[in-house]
């Protein structure tokens, strides 16, 4: 029997006792046994058939149920879409807002090239995406001067009323207990809480403390505040002082002074001392200035 055959029989674990002797007598015997022994070190990791079977069976079980679970990924997709759509909807319907602080004025150009001048402590907001040739709506709190380009109905919504125009220049002042609309060009329609009215060029419409005030037509072409002057004709002192506070960011204490006194006059936005004098002198009042507080007293 030749060597290869012996080795093969040994490998196949199939040696007869005599053959084993012959195999042991081979010169490579030691090397072969060593190689074989060391090969044991490559043994595959322990494989637990029962555990594996349980794993497979449980997977098969869950697979059965997951067959109807196509709904789950679908729901995930739907949820993502809903979020995306929601975010898109939210951002596109979000209003664009411009606002001013105390003593600040700003100019805003609307999508239709209409111009808005914002007086101090005022805010406008409108929806860019909902702004088109048939719908021009803007929300206002505070005071603003509008120069509206010709086009469809232009609507300004305030707490005190809605002002509707087609193409014109007008000023709206909406402050606590105070609502004033002045038309500088064209025609303005006003819907206020208790009625409606139309203004022609030069007309003003004023409501103070829910009382409509008769006014004289003016010849101005734009509100004085655009030239950094606040002007008043027969306006209660309280509103004059409130405007003063907005323009200079100060607090005014009036103590015993009657603020319902009517005031006609102007004050500048550029110099606080001159401005104070132009209010106090006609009314024969004294003022004392400490930091951001101004105290008015009788002479």
């Amino acid at each position: 029997m030749d060597k290869e055959e012996l080795i093969l029989k040994w490998l196949d674990n199939n040696l007869s006792p005599q053959e084993l002797e012959a195999f042991k007598a081979l010169e490579d015997y030691e090397a072969l046994v060593k190689l074989s022994d060391y090969s044991q070190g490559f043994k595959a990791p322990e494989y637990n058939t029962d555990d594996a079977l349980q794993a497979v069976l449980s997977k098969i079980e869950t697979k059965k149920t997951t067959k109807t679970n196509w709904l789950k990924p679908l729901l995930k997709v739907a949820a993502i879409l809903a979020i995306c759509f929601g975010a898109y909807y939210y951002t596109t319907t979000l209003d664009t807002t411009f606002a001013t602080e105390y003593a600040e004025k700003t100019q805003v150009e609307l999508p239709d090239n209409s111009q808005v001048n914002l007086n101090a402590l005022s805010k406008i907001s409108f929806n860019k995406n909902d702004w088109n040739t048939t719908n021009r709506t803007i929300n206002l709190t505070g005071e603003a001067f509008f120069k509206v380009t010709q086009g469809s109905t232009f609507k300004v919504v305030t707490d005190a009323g809605i002002v509707t125009v087609v193409g014109t220049e007008f000023n709206i002042k909406q402050r606590p207990n105070y609502f004033e609309v002045t038309c500088f060009e064209g025609e303005v329609h006003i819907n206020y809480n208790t009625g409606k009215t139309n203004l022609k060029t030069g007309d003003s419409f004023v409501i103070i403390n829910e009382q409509i005030i008769e006014t004289q037509p003016s010849k101005n072409t734009q509100p004085d505040w655009l030239n950094n002057v606040s002007s008043f004709i027969s306006v209660p002192l309280s509103e004059v002082l409130a405007e003063f506070e907005r323009q200079y960011n100060v607090k005014i204490e009036v103590n015993t002074i009657q603020t319902s006194t009517l005031f006609s006059g102007k004050f500048t936005h550029n110099d606080i001392n001159i401005a104070l004098k132009s209010i106090t002198e006609p009314l024969q009042l004294q003022f004392k200035k400490t930091n951001n507080t101004i105290i008015l007293t009788r002479e």
Binding site: Y38, F42, A44, Y47
Partner: protein
């Protein structure tokens, strides 16, 4: 071989019996062929699950080669062919006394050489050789497992042996 009683193994108890008979062999086959890098345990599991899902289409006498083929393909799909290096584990030593430093060094060197030589075998040789030497399977069993003739198994194992010796002993 007895004629199969059923023409599929969709029955759970039959599937379980089939699993118990072949799972370990499949796992070992995958391990020796591809190493442990691609997780032979998972692939074996997946192959059996595939068999279950397709149990109506696979006849019982083809089931074994079906799982072997599926698992093999799963492995091949996973990664480009790379050289497989099986880790040699330290064998448990019964005799602690003859571990002289020279002996240990020599042993270490031998182990490294063997590791390299095993890695250099062809897949077919390595699988057949380790199934035979490590798992103690006889030629006929391996032949059945791999769906080849006993003669081919003989050739592979003997070829592997020769090649290993050549590399290790530098013949």
């Amino acid at each position: 071989m007895a004629q199969p009683l059923h023409d599929n193994i969709c029955d759970k108890s039959r599937f379980e019996a089939f699993f118990k008979r072949h799972a370990k062999n499949l796992h070992d086959f995958l391990y020796y062929k591809f190493g442990d890098r691609l997780n032979p345990e998972d692939k074996a599991q997946e192959a059996f699950i595939k068999l279950w899902e397709n149990c109506k289409k696979v006849s019982p006498d083809k089931a074994k080669s079906y799982v072997f083929t599926v698992a093999n393909n799963l492995m091949l799909n996973e990664a480009a062919h790379q050289k497989v290096v099986l880790k040699h584990q330290q064998l448990k030593r019964t005799n602690q006394t003859n571990e002289s430093p020279e002996f240990l060094m020599e042993e270490d060197e031998y182990r490294k050489k063997l590791e390299l030589a095993i890695a250099n075998l062809t897949e077919a040789q390595r699988v057949a050789f380790l199934m035979n030497r490590v798992e103690g399977k006889r030629f006929k069993e391996i032949a059945q497992l791999l769906d080849i003739s006993t003669k081919a198994v003989e050739k592979r194992i003997y070829g592997a042996l020769k090649k290993l010796r050549e590399e290790i002993e530098g013949l």
